[in-house]
């Protein structure tokens, strides 16, 4: 016999997104059969009653009250779930209150607390980020600008000022860095080693650093420079500063450069800098062809190739051909839903290199824009601004992927679905379990679902646990994003 419990929170107004997130979290707790958090209007009370969720406690609610309603297999599970729901509802306030007591409110007061600090991480609305970054530079701090929506003019001015002051600006829109073994923002727990990474792409840095870690090597520093740093306008100012920094770092043996393709002028400038270096380099400008590089640098077409080149592991490019399942009937298209822009770009490279036409909302050179095609293989970057304005990034809230994923699973023309699962600090607590819930009992039916997990065993979400959850849900898990894309192509060819 199920047990139902309701709690009414009078006059508690929470953002709809928070309400849905708490609902989802509570509904997934052990023993919980159903859960809902709704405003206590008469119409909603009727819905809760029809869902067998309403008990007399909830009937006292008014339209301005919140009803937390849970049905579980027994009283113990229901009570535990209600305790968790209350904790989640109250947590933001409690956390804010606690953190307000110890966190400095200005850059100046932060420096008073720790005068030895040498880096400021700026994460404020874009309109204000440049001013805060300028203050940090003038206080002698290196700057990592997590914020986006900083104007190009501000970025150029900040980077020029930083260069004059012999400081480094990482960003804007820099989501990933690892400095001296310390991960910042979205990054993974990787061992310290002798490979440095300079990247204009966050998930690109994560994929390469994790593959390097899995190969037994480690990272000295991973420096994000922001997606526009290698543009003509910015001219690679931060990349050049980072190169100089890693050049003088005795713990860095080899350096990996990651970006989308820069202009010819910027490539020439970077190449000249590499030519003067005493170190060796791997250059991965995703989608770029025939890069003019000096003898101490090799070009890599994919992130996996970059990691292999830097750490010396042997690439398996077979795509798991022997394991690929032939597609049934009219199922001939691949749908890719990526939380990482660089991972979406890497998959496009793999498709294009095998002569397969592909479309994307963030097309690399040679791929089609979504608006240009009506059918075919599509690889979506769900972290792109068009999906994330005002919403959490899919690495934080994987629910952004739910609707397109469900749609693809029901589409009779889709043969393979391609997913990336990115874990690490800052990422969703259990993204594999979220995907598994959406897949439900999909199992080994068509379309085949293929994924890779970007992460390490030491990450909070634990790589092997994520792989195991996906595996149990019938997902074909490949060891890298490139391998997952190759597997999808192997299915088409089988």
């Amino acid at each position: 016999m199920s047990f139902r419990v309701n709690q009414v929170r009078h006059g508690l107004f929470l953002d709809s997104v928070v309400l849905m997130q708490v609902s989802r979290t509570v509904a997934a707790l052990p023993g919980v059969e159903d859960a809902a958090l709704m405003m206590g209007t008469p119409a909603n009370q009727e819905i809760l009653e029809n869902s067998d969720l309403l008990v007399p406690d909830g009937e006292s609610a008014g339209g301005g009250d919140l009803i937390v309603a849970i049905r579980a297999k027994d009283e113990t599970a229901a009570t535990a779930a209600m305790d968790q729901a209350v904790l989640l509802l109250d947590q933001p306030v409690a956390v804010r209150a606690a953190s307000a007591a110890v966190q400095p409110r200005t850059l100046r007061s932060a420096l008073r607390v720790d005068p030895n600090a040498n880096l400021a991480l700026i994460s404020v609305p874009g309109d204000f980020a440049a001013a805060e970054a300028r203050k940090a530079l003038r206080a002698g701090l290196h700057v990592m600008i997590f914020s986006d929506n900083v104007s190009l003019d501000d970025e150029i001015a900040l980077k020029r000022e930083a260069r004059q002051r012999e400081l480094l600006v990482m960003g804007p829109d820099c989501g990933t860095a690892i400095l001296g073994g310390t991960p910042l923002a979205f990054a993974n727990h990787v061992p310290v080693g002798d490979i440095g990474i300079i990247g204009a792409s966050g998930t690109g840095i994560q994929e390469v650093s994790c593959l390097i870690a899995q190969a037994g090597a480690g990272i000295s520093h991973a420096i994000g420079v922001g997606g526009r740093d290698l543009s003509d306008e910015v001219g690679g100012i931060s990349t050049l500063t980072a190169l100089e920094w890693l050049e003088s770092d005795p713990k860095t043996r080899h350096i990996v450069l990651l970006s989308k393709p820069p202009s010819a002028a910027v490539v020439e400038r970077i190449s000249a800098e590499l030519d003067h270096s005493r170190k060796s380099f791997t250059v991965c400008f995703l989608g770029a062809q025939n890069l003019p590089l000096p003898a101490n640098a090799v070009a890599a077409r994919t992130l996996r190739a970059a990691a292999a080149s830097a750490s010396g592991f042997q690439e398996d490019t077979s795509g798991g051909t022997g394991l690929a399942r032939p597609l049934a009937g009219d199922r001939k298209w691949v749908r890719g839903f990526f939380s990482g822009g660089s991972l979406a770009a890497e998959a496009q490279v793999i498709f294009l290199d095998q002569g397969i036409r592909v479309a994307s909302n963030a097309p690399i050179q040679g791929a089609y824009a979504l608006s240009e095609v009506t059918a075919g293989h599509t690889l979506l970057d769900l972290g792109d601004d068009q999906y994330t304005r005002g919403r959490p990034h899919p690495m934080i809230d994987p629910a952004v992927r739910d609707d397109p994923l469900r749609q693809a699973l029901h589409d009779p023309t889709v043969g393979a679905v391609l997913l990336d699962i990115v874990i690490g600090y800052g990422a969703s607590e259990d993204p594999a379990a979220h995907v598994a819930r959406i897949l439900g009992h999909h199992g080994n039916r068509d379309p085949v679902v293929i994924a890779s997990v970007t992460g390490t065993e030491e990450d909070p979400q634990v790589l092997s646990r994520q792989v195991s959850i996906l595996d149990s849900a019938g997902v074909w898990v490949r060891p890298s994003n490139a391998a997952a894309a190759e597997a999808a192509l192997a299915c088409i060819a089988a």
Partner: protein
């Protein structure tokens, strides 16, 4: 479009800014705790009414980027500019988060704005009064706009909320309870609109419309959002008689039927206005401006969990009847000719 206006707080019981801060400090507020001054860049009609008729209020709800304020004269919402203007919003350039103030903190109106707790001083003196923009449109542009919008929405409308009534997905997908409740209501509303548009004479909407009030998930329930979209388009179409008819049927149910925040948005919609994002979207459909639909749909989809979609669904239901009615009238005219 209204020209920029200056909003000032009138009333003899108002104190000056400096006098207010002195008074607060004199009552024991720490002068070391800085009062952050925010300049409002726009303010909507409902918000003007709320603060204009009041000397005092409280913070009713706190979010990262917005605060709902309850005054004697009504409710309004203080938001960062990135959330956009609306009849209930006071938009400010916000350097940080709003949740530095606490729920139930006192709000005192002063000469050129108001002060929230001891933390925020909002200056409304140079705020532009926001009014919903109106576009030129014809039946031809409307039909073009709807034809371009529907494929986008079929692909992206969420399962939650009510938008799947207007852009249905596979019948195999399970329908939520709110969807089951709302589907026959929306069908009868569409039938009612068809009749009144064709005949021209007003009649009351079906009583089942009250089933939408307070229905569904979210801070503003989906059914309320749907009604907001519907009311806005009826106003844009100049059918204020039908807005009044809806008002007559739903108003008695609002006090008990939904929460104060949703009532605030419904009241604004009964006056013909909603969020800047909804108006921009509806205007693009009306004008057949298909190039901007995708980007505006992205903004709509960012409103709440599914609130943006629900308001758009209500709006599109009316727009479709408008387009259909016109076509049938035209066809009848051709046949007669």
């Amino acid at each position: 479009m209204a020209s920029p206006q200056v909003v000032t707080g009138a009333g003899s019981n108002r104190r000056t800014d400096a006098a207010f801060v002195r008074a607060r400090n004199g009552r024991g507020f720490s002068s070391a705790q800085a009062v952050q001054t925010l300049s409002a860049v726009s303010i909507g009609a409902q918000a003007i009414r709320a603060i204009g008729a009041s000397s005092r209020g409280r913070v009713a709800a706190v979010f990262n980027r917005s605060l709902y304020l309850e005054f004697d004269g009504g409710w309004c919402c203080l938001v960062g500019t990135e959330l956009g203007a609306s009849p209930v919003n006071i938009c400010v350039l916000l350097p940080g988060r709003m949740d530095i103030v606490t729920r139930n903190a006192a709000v005192d109106t002063i000469d050129q704005g108001f002060v929230i707790g001891s933390r925020l001083h909002v200056v409304t003196a140079s705020a532009r009064v926001w009014t919903a923009p109106i576009v030129e449109w014809s039946e031809e542009t409307l039909i073009r706009g709807l034809a371009a919008l529907d494929p986008l929405c079929l692909d992206h409308a969420p399962n939650a909320g009510l938008s799947r009534i207007v852009w249905p997905r596979s019948l195999a997908d399970p329908a939520s309870f709110e969807l089951c409740v709302a589907m026959p209501v929306v069908a009868s509303l569409a039938g009612w609109l068809q009749r009144v548009f064709e005949r021209g004479a007003p009649e009351l909407p079906p009583g089942s419309i009250t089933k939408l009030v307070g229905l569904g998930p979210g801070l503003t329930p989906s059914g309320d959002d749907f009604l907001v979209g519907m009311l806005v388009v009826l106003s844009l179409a100049g059918r204020f008689d039908l807005v009044a008819a809806v008002d007559q049927v739903i108003r008695p149910t609002l006090e008990e039927g939904t929460g104060p925040i949703s009532r605030l948005h419904l009241a604004a919609a009964l006056d013909g206005e909603s969020s800047e994002r909804l108006h921009a979207m509806v205007n693009a459909v009306l004008a057949g401006d298909h190039d901007v639909l995708a980007s505006r749909l992205v903004l709509i989809s960012q409103v709440g969990h599914c609130s943006g979609w629900d308001t758009l669904a209500g709006a599109v239901m009316v727009l479709r009847v408008l387009a259909r009615t016109h076509r049938s009238v035209m066809a009848a005219g051709r046949d007669a000719g």
